[in-house]
């Protein structure tokens, strides 16, 4: 093996072990009891839109609780599961829990870019792929000579419908794309200056040549010290968008390369870093969320100074993350700071590392009130509390819309067999416990916190709760109840209506007067392109059902903040519900299907006094 391959191989092994080191058991006595239920499979099929089977696609089953189930997480990363000739796959030996299923096939993208679904052992899933789009062109200098070996980057800024989306900071959205960038430069101009970027999701892109890229620390290319030149030939302010649909090939996206001056952002890190690993400083562009650079601060550097180079003009956020879960030392992070680069280097940025918080508690399942023995309540597939996907989600209501959240992915977990859960590495701020429930038999009844003195319990469901810097909120009780109902149906649009059915949002609003502020009883979902919708895990009771168009600037790909999270939102929904008086009564375990919902333009709510 020649020297280079040996090095790369060692790096690969190092990466494998680094994954392992990362996915280390947390030091705190975290509930890691796993149930003794027999392990089972998730099966499925991968097709191309149109139904054709996709063989040889790579399948990844990632446990939601990857922090507490590290060997499963690593095993799933290394597990060589590929679909067979009929596009079928089976992920075996899964212990009880919730999983996300991902498909990788070079050159293809997943068709459904909407909300993340979770699966449990015993589920079957069908995943549809579409051929990725291609952007290709030639990069030359001003005398027409080819620019050879320049890094090319395409950052997605709008979805297929033309609505702005936050760019995926890791270029391509997949861990494999990321590793591609570590191992190879994903796209690069060849000896003719020609580049070809493929496997792109439909949408609009900014294409750029040169610059350091996100993960540039393993190569020193000749164009790395420039700030990128954006298509057709300038900075990001003059960048032309390249729009591609699924399977499109956008040709002739030629760039006239400029040696754009790259600036430096430097500063120091303050605060505790007890780790043996370094500190990562990340720079994201404010407008798009794209990751523009990473710097490292080494553990022994005297003043913990960092420097990011080749930064182009513009507005950014900068944040630091430190820590090493291997040592059990707490991961620390700084609040993201806004930084503007305008014609000069920026110095003296201070990032203060602060300890991260955690939440813990228990999920309880109560039998249906009235101990139901109805036929509808019997279910062939009992759910397990270990299959509940829990998230300590940041309620970003009062945060700037362009502020990044670096550690959002840590904030998910699943409980152990006893229902105990812990979610660590949480940044400070307003939080909400959000969950995805397995099967259709449970609904969320209450989220409470037992505060001392033990007699007083706090309702966390209505307004969420505030997590201070480094705070541990323990003793959260999430009460689930059996006997949930489901409701599915279709939104029917008037013939003159121009808004597509797929942009209609259906709301279920509790009709009982006492439920005005029972946030958990409010539900919302977005209809499919054909107008169909489905609600599951609903508390029995009486509901108004209303339908409203999504805000026009919202993309279907981004999660919207539930209207019911605000008192004013709940009031508005109840007002509209009462006015339209389209009610439905849901009994325990009832499955309502084929509910037809006609869209009528909304009634403007007048101010109404509430007590």
């Amino acid at each position: 093996m020649n020297m280079d391959m040996k090095r790369v191989f060692s790096l690969v092994i190092l990466l494998t072990l680094c994954i392992a080191a990362f996915a280390q058991k947390p030091q705190r006595p975290a509930p890691v009891e796993k149930s003794k239920s027999p392990s089972r499979s998730i099966t499925g099929r991968v097709i191309i839109e149109g139904g054709q089977a996709v063989p040889s696609a790579a399948i990844l089953a990632l446990p939601v609780n990857f922090m507490g189930n590290q060997s499963a997480a690593v095993a799933s990363l290394l597990r060589p599961i590929t679909t067979d000739e009929a596009g079928r796959f089976e992920v075996k030996d899964l212990s009880s829990g919730a999983y996300s299923i991902h498909v990788l096939l070079a050159g293809y993208v997943v068709s459904d870019r909407r909300e993340q679904k979770y699966y449990r052992p015993g589920d079957t899933v069908t995943i549809s792929l579409t051929k990725g789009a291609v952007i290709t062109g030639r990069v030359t200098n001003f005398t027409g000579e080819p620019i050879v070996g320049a890094r090319m980057r395409a950052v997605r800024i709008k979805d297929a419908d033309g609505r702005p989306v936050r760019a995926d900071a890791l270029g391509g959205g997949s861990i494999f794309g990321f590793l591609d960038q570590i191992m190879n430069i994903e796209s690069q101009t060849d000896d003719r200056g020609v580049y070809r970027i493929y496997g792109l999701e439909p949408g609009s892109y900014h294409v750029s040549a040169g610059g350091k890229g996100q993960v540039s620390f393993l190569s020193t290319g000749g164009y790395d010290s420039d700030a990128p030149t954006y298509y057709p030939s300038g900075t990001i302010d003059t960048a032309a968008e390249v729009k591609v649909q699924a399977g499109d090939e956008a040709t002739g996206i030629d760039i006239r390369y400029r040696e754009n001056r790259g600036y430096a952002i430097s500063g120091t890190i303050k605060g505790q870093s007890t780790s043996t690993a370094g500190i990562s400083v990340m720079l994201t562009r404010a407008a798009s969320g794209a990751l523009e650079g990473i710097a490292f601060v080494l553990p022994n550097s005297p003043n913990h100074g960092f420097i990011l180079t080749s930064v182009s003009e513009g507005d950014y956020y900068i944040a630091a993350v430190a820590g090493n879960t291997m040592e059990g030392t707490s991961v620390a992070a700084s609040v993201a700071r806004r930084v503007s680069v305008k014609g000069a280097d920026v110095t003296g940025i201070e990032l203060a590392l602060t300890p991260l918080g955690s939440v813990s508690g228990r999920v309880l399942v109560e039998p249906a009130p009235g101990a139901d023995s109805r036929a509808e309540c019997k279910t062939a597939r009992p759910a397990s509390v270990e299959e509940v996907a829990l998230m300590a989600q940041s309620d970003r209501k009062d945060r700037p819309k362009d502020e990044p959240e670096l550690l959002a992915s840590y904030a998910t977990s699943t409980p152990n067999a006893k229902g105990e859960f812990v979610i660590r590495f949480l940044e400070q701020g307003q939080k909400r416990m959000v969950m995805k429930l397995p099967g259709e038999q449970w609904y969320a009844r209450a989220i409470t916190l037992s505060a001392t003195p033990a007699s007083r319990t706090v309702d966390l469901a209505r307004d969420g709760f505030s997590l201070k810097q480094g705070e541990s909120v323990n003793g959260i009780t999430i009460t689930l109840s059996e006997g949930a109902a489901s409701l599915s149906g279709k939104v029917v649009m008037g013939k003159e209506e121009t808004i597509p059915a797929g942009r209609m949002r259906v709301h279920l609003v509790p009709a009982e007067a006492l439920s005005a502020d029972e946030t958990l009883r409010f539900a919302e979902t977005t209809a499919q392109p054909d107008g169909t919708f489905k609600f599951t895990n609903l508390a029995p009771g009486r509901y108004w059902i209303i339908v409203r168009p999504m805000p026009d600037e919202e993309s279907l790909e981004t999660a919207s903040r539930p209207v019911a999270w605000d008192a004013s939102g709940r009031a508005g929904l109840r007002f509209e519900g009462e006015a339209l008086a389209n009610a439905v009564e849901l009994k325990p375990c009832q499955r309502v299907a084929d509910f037809l919902l006609r869209y009528t333009p909304p009634v403007k709510p007048t101010t109404k006094k509430l007590n």
């Binding site: 093996m1 020297m3 280079d4 391959m5 040996k6 060692s10 092994i13 990466l15 494998t16 680094c18 990362f22 790579a58 990844l60 939601v64 590290q70 060997s71 690593v74 095993a75 290394l78 030996d93 996300s100 990788l104 909300e115 993340q116 291609v134 050879v148 070996g149 900071a169 890791l170 959205g173 997949s174 861990i175 590793l179 190879n184 430069i185 796209s187 690069q188 060849d190 000896d191 493929y198 496997g199 020193t220 000749g222 164009y223 010290s225 780790s275 690993a277 370094g278 990562s280 710097a295 490292f296 080494l298 022994n300 090493n324 879960t325 670096l406 992915s409 840590y410 998910t412 999660a559």
Partner: protein, 563 residues
């Protein structure tokens, strides 16, 4: 909501950086105020080349150190040649650099005096280093399309080149051009900047394809044969293009399957979630170009690898968790045109070594505090069947605690060599020796199976020793494409920690730094494909002291026949 895949990728990314930085981190040299200049000229096909980018990258002795330098933020200094092909770097901080034009499409002219595409140079204060010239020619191009048996394009498939005769140098891949070794969404690849010569072009063989379940295509040579003996060589000329070099992959579906299970060597119980590694054994002709595969064992300890071609392989297993006390046996197996089942890999509880760390020549509490930030690892020699890769995969883990105690665990029987690495500050702390009962364990600590040894001392010293050397060439000029490497090995110590390497620059000078005091044997060897035979390696012994650089001159006689 965004997919949790993206979130996981993000978090994996963050954690990866954070964790792996500890494995790769090292000191960034203090920038000095002194600076000098570098000038030279770039020609292409003998004519002045204007507008060519020339880079000065801070230089370390080997590729891994260059990666470490990049991680710490060191960037290359860049300039561009003028209309006469001249370039000029001024105000370059004194130090060692690698100078190279950034021209992936061009290569060093084979017949020029300035024989290399990159030069190691030393910039000294107030001096102008002149004549750093580069004579380039346009490289050749090979392009074509890779398809499967049904004519469908193979996307993101690995392309490899091997020299078909002695004129083609083997080293072609670099981090800067690695993306050209992959096919695009049409199955098309384009290799450029190739030295003239004859090549075997192949697709598949999966260098990196074991990662994450990528399709494993068995290696197929142009035009579409599995056997290299029947491959058609492709001729590349300077500036020429070999087009239509299409490869129809013979059997893109499957090779053979190797399967078995991982069991506890003491109890015989199956072990799930162990990581199994397999690779080509030394006797396998694919060894070196086929790094093998990695897979976890299932709930009954079972594992399997698909698409394995016939040949001899070895396999071992290891647990992911760093605190695991297990080590894996190395098992050989052979695939002879059919599946192989029942491969049993045993994991055994390893031995351990504990003790304390001390620093030889200082009581500075700041330096002592750094020790617990160093990474400790151990590998065990004495198993002749194993290879370096397998040893490092099955290496024992270790930790230095803040109170100065250390532990190394997961050790198989044999001679245990403990290594310390990681960030150690500008002066450099290195593990000088390992002592057991007052005796220096230069051959490693002898460990029996499952034995736990205590009372071992790890003695660290500051490694500020420097060797400054000069190589004088006799018996003719140094041929084009020859690289001289100087290496220094501590005579008393077997461990590679006690070694240093450096490239010899254009003027024949080299500097090897970060050495512990002691007696070293300095060797100069020539790495070249152009020399008819290896000239004799020259050795010299030199004593390295703590503060004074040791000087040495070696004479390399090209006419003397070597080993």
């Amino acid at each position: 909501m965004k997919t949790s895949m993206k979130f996981f990728a993000r978090i994996f990314f963050i954690a990866l950086i954070v964790v792996c930085a500890s494995a790769n981190a090292f000191a960034q040299d203090q920038k000095e105020q002194k600076s000098g200049s570098v000038t030279g000229r770039v020609t292409i096909d003998g004519r002045a080349a204007a507008g060519v980018i020339v880079l000065l990258s801070p230089s370390g002795s080997d590729p891994a150190r260059r990666i470490e330098l990049s991680l710490a933020g060191a960037t290359a200094i860049r300039t561009t040649t003028d209309e006469n092909g001249n370039f000029n770097f001024s105000d370059v901080p004194a130090g060692r650099y690698r100078a190279a034009p950034y021209t992936l499409s061009h290569i060093a002219a084979p017949d020029s005096k300035s024989s290399e595409h990159e030069r190691e140079i030393t910039v000294t204060h107030d001096q102008t280093l002149e004549g750093i010239d580069f004579a380039l020619i346009r490289g050749g191009v090979i392009t074509g399309r890779v398809t499967d048996a049904n004519g469908r394009p193979l996307i993101r498939e690995t392309i490899s080149l091997a020299g078909a005769d002695d004129s083609a140098p083997a080293r072609l891949w670099s981090p800067n051009n690695s993306s050209m070794f992959l096919t695009d969404d049409r199955g098309v690849y384009r290799l450029y900047g190739l030295p003239p010569g004859k090549y075997f072009v192949s697709a598949g063989g999966g260098e990196m394809s074991f990662f994450f379940g990528d399709r494993k295509t068995p290696r197929t040579y142009y035009p579409g044969v599995a056997d290299r003996a029947r491959a058609k060589p492709v001729e590349v000329t300077a500036g020429g293009e070999a087009i239509g070099i299409d490869i129809g992959v013979v059997n893109s579906a499957r090779g053979y399957q190797a399967s078995g299970r991982v069991i506890d060597g003491d109890t015989g119980k199956p072990l799930p979630n162990a990581i199994v590694l397999f690779m080509a054994a030394k006797e396998n002709p694919a060894a070196g170009s086929f790094p093998g595969g990695v897979s976890p064992s299932g709930s009954k300890g079972e594992f399997h690898f698909d698409n394995v071609s016939s040949g001899v392989y070895m396999a071992t297993a290891q647990f992911v968790e760093p605190e695991s006390e297990f080590y894996g046996d190395m098992v050989n197996f052979e695939i002879k045109n059919e599946d192989v089942k029942g491969i049993e890999i045993k994991l055994r509880r390893g031995g351990s070594i504990t003790g304390f760390v001390v620093v030889d020549d200082t009581a500075d509490p700041e330096i002592l505090a750094r020790l617990s930030q160093m990474n400790l690892a151990a590998h065990v020699t004495g198993d002749s069947a194993s290879t370096a890769e397998a040893d490092s995969f099955g290496a024992g883990r270790g930790k230095i605690n803040p109170d100065g105690s250390f532990r190394v665990w997961g050790l198989k029987p044999g001679k245990v060599h403990i290594r310390a690495g990681g960030y150690s500050g500008p002066k450099g702390l290195k593990l000088a020796r390992v002592e057991r009962d007052g005796l220096d364990q230069t051959d490693g600590v002898e460990l029996k199976a499952g034995e736990h040894i205590s009372g071992v001392r790890l003695v660290f010293a500051t490694s500020s020793g420097v060797i400054r050397g000069r190589v004088v060439i006799e018996g003719g000029p140094l041929p084009a494409g020859t690289t001289l490497i100087a290496s220094a090995k501590n005579i008393a110590d077997e461990d590679s920690d006690a070694e240093g390497r450096a490239k010899v620059d254009a003027a024949g000078n080299f500097v090897i730094e970060n050495l512990l005091p002691g007696a070293y044997e300095v060797t100069v060897s020539a790495e070249s494909d152009a020399l008819p035979s290896q000239p004799q390696k020259v050795k010299q012994t030199v004593n390295v002291a703590k503060d004074v650089p040791a000087e040495v001159t070696l004479v390399l006689n090209l006419k003397a026949k070597g080993n």
